[in-house]
């Protein structure tokens, strides 16, 4: 399996596809950093968490967090949509499977290699932004902020891995590259993208009037889960993920939540994202293991 991971990683890092994605992400980060520079002066400093403000502050240009929310699913899909069916269509699958390896190491290796690529890409982005941000605002991040950023990084990787798992699932189900690309993209447009999201803006409001059900339904969307988790992780002032009534907020002090409290707040969201990722992977795993390998 190590061999397969090694080969897949080499493929990813030499592919033009990854280069384009990486450039896209870097450009978005640069734009977002510029937005943060413009906006951070006016941002609230009451919380004392200035450094994480770099990521969450935007002006009329969206913040880095929003950009990452848009790009991570696209990266995940781009990494996974042809993982299995390209091997079939190029005729390499039967050649690999006739080597003395277990069949599942093929799909495991591909999934892990994708996750490593995703992690390296996002870690680079976050470190670059942090570095430039440090120069720009001259405020060093505190230990708590670093931990918060780390959890943010973990949730990005899980979120990206979910989309990659979804794309791999379709690449196992369909032999055509076009279909396996379009299916996860369609799901992303319907449920996952923050810019124009028919699910969040039309479907859910049409179904229900009750606030509770409204939130429940919104949380079907993986993007929504991710957005909630991100906000609570990076903005310590953020209190509740539900709707707070006036009686809830009465007497509430505007003080940042401690790290544990923030984590507690997003624990369900993180768990749900991890679950989604595992479900996608498990289904593709089972389907792949039972698939007939004949090419004709």
């Amino acid at each position: 399996m190590i061999t397969i991971i090694r080969k897949e990683l080499a493929d990813y890092f030499t592919s033009i596809r990854c280069l384009i994605l990486f450039i896209l992400v870097l450009l978005a980060s640069a734009v977002a950093l510029y937005a943060a520079q413009q906006g951070i002066r006016g941002a609230s400093t009451e919380s004392g968490f200035i450094f994480t403000g770099l990521f969450t502050t935007g002006t009329n240009i969206p913040s880095l967090v929003t950009f990452i929310g848009i790009f991570v699913p696209v990266i995940g899909i781009a990494l996974g949509f042809d993982a299995i069916n390209r091997e079939y269509s190029s005729g390499t699958m039967s050649r690999i499977l006739s080597q003395p390896i277990y069949r599942d190491s093929v799909i495991n290796g591909k999934f892990l290699a994708g996750m490593i690529t995703l992690a390296i890409m996002m870690m680079t982005t976050l470190l670059l932004v942090s570095g430039f941000g440090l120069r720009m605002i001259g405020v060093a991040p505190g230990a708590e902020e670093i931990i918060r950023l780390f959890f943010y990084f973990v949730s990005i990787v899980v979120f990206g891995a979910f989309w990659m798992g979804l794309a791999i699932l379709f690449s196992v189900l369909f032999r055509s590259l076009a279909i396996s690309l379009l299916c996860p993209l369609a799901i992303w447009i319907l449920l996952g993208n923050p810019v124009f999201n028919p699910y969040v803006s039309f479907i859910v409001p049409a179904i229900t009037n009750s606030i509770g059900t409204y939130l429940m339904l919104l949380r079907i969307s993986p993007y929504w889960l991710f957005a909630e988790a991100t906000t609570a992780l990076l903005d310590p002032l953020f209190r509740g993920l539900g709707i707070l009534t006036l009686s809830d907020t009465t007497g509430m002090l505007l003080r940042p939540l401690s790290l544990e409290q923030s984590l507690l707040l997003v624990w369900p969201q993180l768990t749900a994202l991890i679950c989604l990722m595992i479900i996608c992977f498990a289904v593709s795993y089972v389907v792949f293991m039972r698939q007939e390998i004949r090419s004709t």
Binding site: T3, S90, G91, S98, P100
Partner: protein, 311 residues
């Protein structure tokens, strides 16, 4: 022949959606021979191979390769067996060497061992100059040769080749066939699927013919040839300067001779075994000049036709 059996199937059966694709197949393949698996398209050849490698599960029956059960111990089988798929593909963006290196790694070869073996097999298939060219620039024939190199790089003791000469020009075919014919000497048994009968006849020692998933006939090529032409007997053709009735009488009395026919200066003799020595002696002793004599040759076409007409 008392040789070791490397591959054996017992009532191997495969069904796809209720259709029987391979039907109670019993094959035995001896060590260090080239075995030809013949049959029309859809006869179940590829399915049989996939079952041998444990890539698909039989509905019933079993296959053993080097004593390992293909379904239960596929890793051991695949460690010793190289497989050239009918529709073979490579990673087009990688070079020939990188493609082979990946396969060597998957076989747990050390780096030095892999590099040495890669050089060796690339030389064997004549692709040394192209070793560091990306496979996407390869012609069909070069890919096919790389496919053979790919099978050999793991030093298999059994090589299963599905249509190894597909898409090659006559020169390429000859190179590949020579290469395959030389494998048994290096300790590799070969199972080869092909539609081209003359190729099979040229290099295979034994054959099996499949039709509709069933084994039609299996055996050594020369035995099957005689079977097809003369019901299992030898036919000896003798050319002399003249034919006399006495000579026909003398030859007819040699034990083992079944029938003698004279046409012009030719004698057609049907015998139970190869009696060329006895026949030539009889001809010369009777004072007739012997011009030439040969055991009638058969072509695989005859065998193929016979079984498909009967079947």
């Amino acid at each position: 022949m008392g040789k070791n059996i490397v591959l054996e199937t017992q009532d191997l059966t495969k069904k796809y959606d209720g259709t029987t694709v391979v039907d109670r197949l019993n094959l035995r393949i001896a060590e260090n021979e080239v075995f030809g698996l013949l049959g029309p398209n859809g006869a179940g050849k590829t399915t049989t191979i996939l079952m041998l490698l444990g890539l698909t599960e039989p509905a019933s029956g079993s296959a053993r390769v080097f004593g390992f059960d293909s379904t239960r111990e596929p890793l051991q089988v695949k460690r010793l067996t190289g497989y050239l798929p009918e529709r073979l593909g490579f990673y087009e963006n990688l070079t020939a060497r990188q493609n082979l290196r990946f396969i060597a790694w998957l076989n747990n070869m050390s780096d030095e061992e892999a590099e040495g073996q890669i050089d060796h097999v690339l030389k064997a298939v004549g692709l040394v100059e192209k070793a560091d060219t990306a496979v996407r620039k390869f012609s069909r024939g070069m890919k096919q040769r790389l496919g053979i190199a790919d099978v050999l790089v793991k030093k298999p003791r059994l090589a299963i080749l599905d249509e190894p000469t597909a898409g090659l020009d006559p020169k390429g075919i000859n190179q590949i066939l020579d290469l395959i014919a030389g494998l048994p000497k290096m300790g590799t048994t070969v199972v080869m699927c092909s539609h081209r009968l003359y190729e099979v006849q040229r290099i295979c020692h034994s054959i099996a013919i499949l039709a509709n998933g069933k084994l039609v006939v299996e055996g050594a090529l020369d035995v099957l040839g005689r079977e097809a032409l003369a019901g299992g007997r030898y036919r000896i053709e003798v050319e002399t300067d003249r034919v006399s009735p006495q000579l026909v009488g003398i030859i007819g009395k040699i034990s083992g001779v079944r029938n003698v026919e004279a046409t012009g200066n030719f004698l057609h003799i049907t015998t139970d075994s190869d009696l060329r020595a006895a026949v030539s002696k009889a001809v010369v002793n009777s004072g007739v000049a012997l011009i030439q004599m040969k055991v009638q040759e058969f072509s695989l076409d005859d065998i193929y036709k016979k079984y498909f007409q009967e079947g």
